[in-house]
Amino acid sequence: MSKVETKRLRRELYPELRELTFGFVSDLEKCMQCGKCVGACPAAAVTAYNSRRMIHDIKSGNLQDVIESEELWSCFFCSTCYASCPKDINFPFTVAMLRYASLYAGYGAEYVKKIIPYAQDYYARGLTVLQPEKNPLVIARRKANSGTSGEMGDIREKMGMPRERTVSDEALAEVQFISDVSGMTKLMKRMLDRRDAAPKTRERLENVDTVKTREGKFAGFPEEQENA
């Protein structure tokens, strides 16, 4: 696939898919503010995170407050709220979508920047979690427990497995193509550019008009100019 072709596909396929997929979640209008979610929530137990309040804020038109808040980044994505919700609102999905909204409005980069290396690994190797271990505590303990150097290749070898799990070159090329066409590569680059700025939540990065809606549904995200 040539670069020009990839670019053309990204221009044509990506915006359309994007528009369709951001209708992924909602259902917030069903919320009856019973608060079961907060009672079951592990994040609420250790932080000020409060899903009921967030839903209330969104429904009453204060989406901006939620998008700017640090609270948005406390969710554990454990889905206990969904499991206990009598109205079956899948709030973790909403949180994921709100995080994109937050990122597009210029907030939250300080949280996401720590995840970027995993995405880079995915792009480069096809796997999100790779063998190298940074934590010396983990290596030392593994060394003692496995009777090897503590390196994963040696542990796997001792177990009678190949030293590493391989991903085929074809698969890698396909993943990279899909990433380029589906907008992931571009988003990653944006995140990387922002990483060095290390902004704080509630601090505007770009002068973007953020979406406000009273429907409890997203009208859309401030579109990147590149796609226009």
Partner: protein, 347 residues
């Protein structure tokens, strides 16, 4: 109790596609080796492919890449078992969630499925959605009888706590094999292996990381949460925790070391994946089961197992029978010998 209507939907095949997990392959390879061995022993084939990559869910739900990137990535991975005509078994709650959730979404949104297949056709693939995505604990209960036949080293008197992980039961409260708040499938499998399942107050509590807390908040949120879980475990006096998700395994295993390192709490409970537990009861060598890759030492647990073996051998010999010994005995040196492994459970 497993739900009969869900149980009925789960296919029992001669061969499945094994969807490998990044964490299992690169951090806890014992999950993979034990899964393959257990399936081999019960006569069910597993096919793998190097064309399979990460499920790609992680990067989406940590907001690094958009949903638009995950849809085609999920569809691409599923096109492999689709083409092979196999149903998919995942080892990881995360893989299960993303493959199922996005697969479901694609199948119910034809315009998106069309767009995604348009992307895939560029690389010569097609997603049809024919391959059913199953979790390891969907399949194992269906094969329970075959598993029971292979148990040569019942883990009698050994106390196991369970941790199901959120992304299977909570995320799929209607489609999961068991009730999200009172599941028993893993407990049933522990009993098949001869062990004693133990309940504890914080059993349904998340491991503390979800997808990102350990990374983005540097454990400030996760560790206090995890401490509550382990404090409750300590009171229940368990020998090991059984999990069904590699991410939970990582967090619970490493979290204990981190808590010790920071002086928050002193806990040392080995964490095993469900197939590692079954592998042990089938007499697999602990080295091959990969327990050495665990950060929290399993030595105490393995020593206890060895004492159990010895007391069983003595009892058999006293009765004049030939002991049914495991294929390869535990390799770690053991501590003092006690009369009966069953009695030693509360020691």
């Amino acid at each position: 109790m497993p739900r009969p209507e869900v149980m009925a939907r789960i296919p029992v095949d001669d061969e499945y596609f094994l969807f490998r997990s990044c964490v299992a392959s690169n951090k806890y390879p014992g999950m993979e080796s034990s899964t393959k061995e257990v399936f081999e022993r019960i006569g069910v084939g597993l096919r793998e492919s190097d064309d399979q990559t990460c499920c790609a869910g992680f990067i989406t739900f940590t907001s690094v890449a958009e949903v638009t990137a995950t849809m085609p990535a999920v569809a691409r991975n599923l096109s492999i078992p689709d083409q092979a005509g196999l149903n998919t078994v995942t080892m990881c709650n995360g893989c299960y969630t993303f493959l199922t959730e996005f697969g479901h979404f694609l199948q119910h949104n034809p315009p998106i499925m069309g767009k995604v297949n348009e992307m895939l056709s560029m690389v010569g693939r097609e997603y049809t959605g024919e391959s059913q995505v199953l979790h390891m604990i969907d399949v194992l209960p269906k094969l329970q009888d075959r598993i029971a036949e292979q148990i040569v080293r019942p883990l009698k008197g050994i106390r196991f706590a369970t941790h199901y992980g959120c992304h299977y039961l909570y995320g799929f409260k209607k489609d999961a094999i068991d009730d999200p708040f009172t599941p028993t499938v893993v407990e049933d499998l522990i009993e098949v292996a001869g062990g004693t399942p133990v309940d504890y107050p914080e059993a349904r509590t998340c491991c503390g990381s979800g997808l990102t807390q350990v990374v983005i908040h540097k454990e400030d949120l996760s560790l206090p949460h995890m401490k509550a879980k382990f404090d409750s475990l300590k009171e229940a006096d368990v020998d090991a925790i059984v999990v069904v998700c590699p991410y939970c395994l990582t967090i619970l295993d490493r979290g204990q070391a981190k808590m010790v390192d920071r002086g928050i709490a002193q806990h040392e409970v080995p964490v095993l994946y469900i197939t590692q537990l079954l592998g042990l009861a089938m007499g697999m060598d602990p080295v091959k089961l990969g327990l050495g890759a665990n950060v929290t030492s399993a030595k105490k647990f393995l020593d206890k197992l060895e004492r159990l073996d010895r007391s069983r051998a003595t009892a058999q010999a006293a009765r004049g029978g030939v002991p049914r010994s495991p294929q390869s005995p535990a390799s770690s040196p053991s501590g003092e010998t006690t009369g009966d492994g069953g009695e030693a459970a509360n020691a």
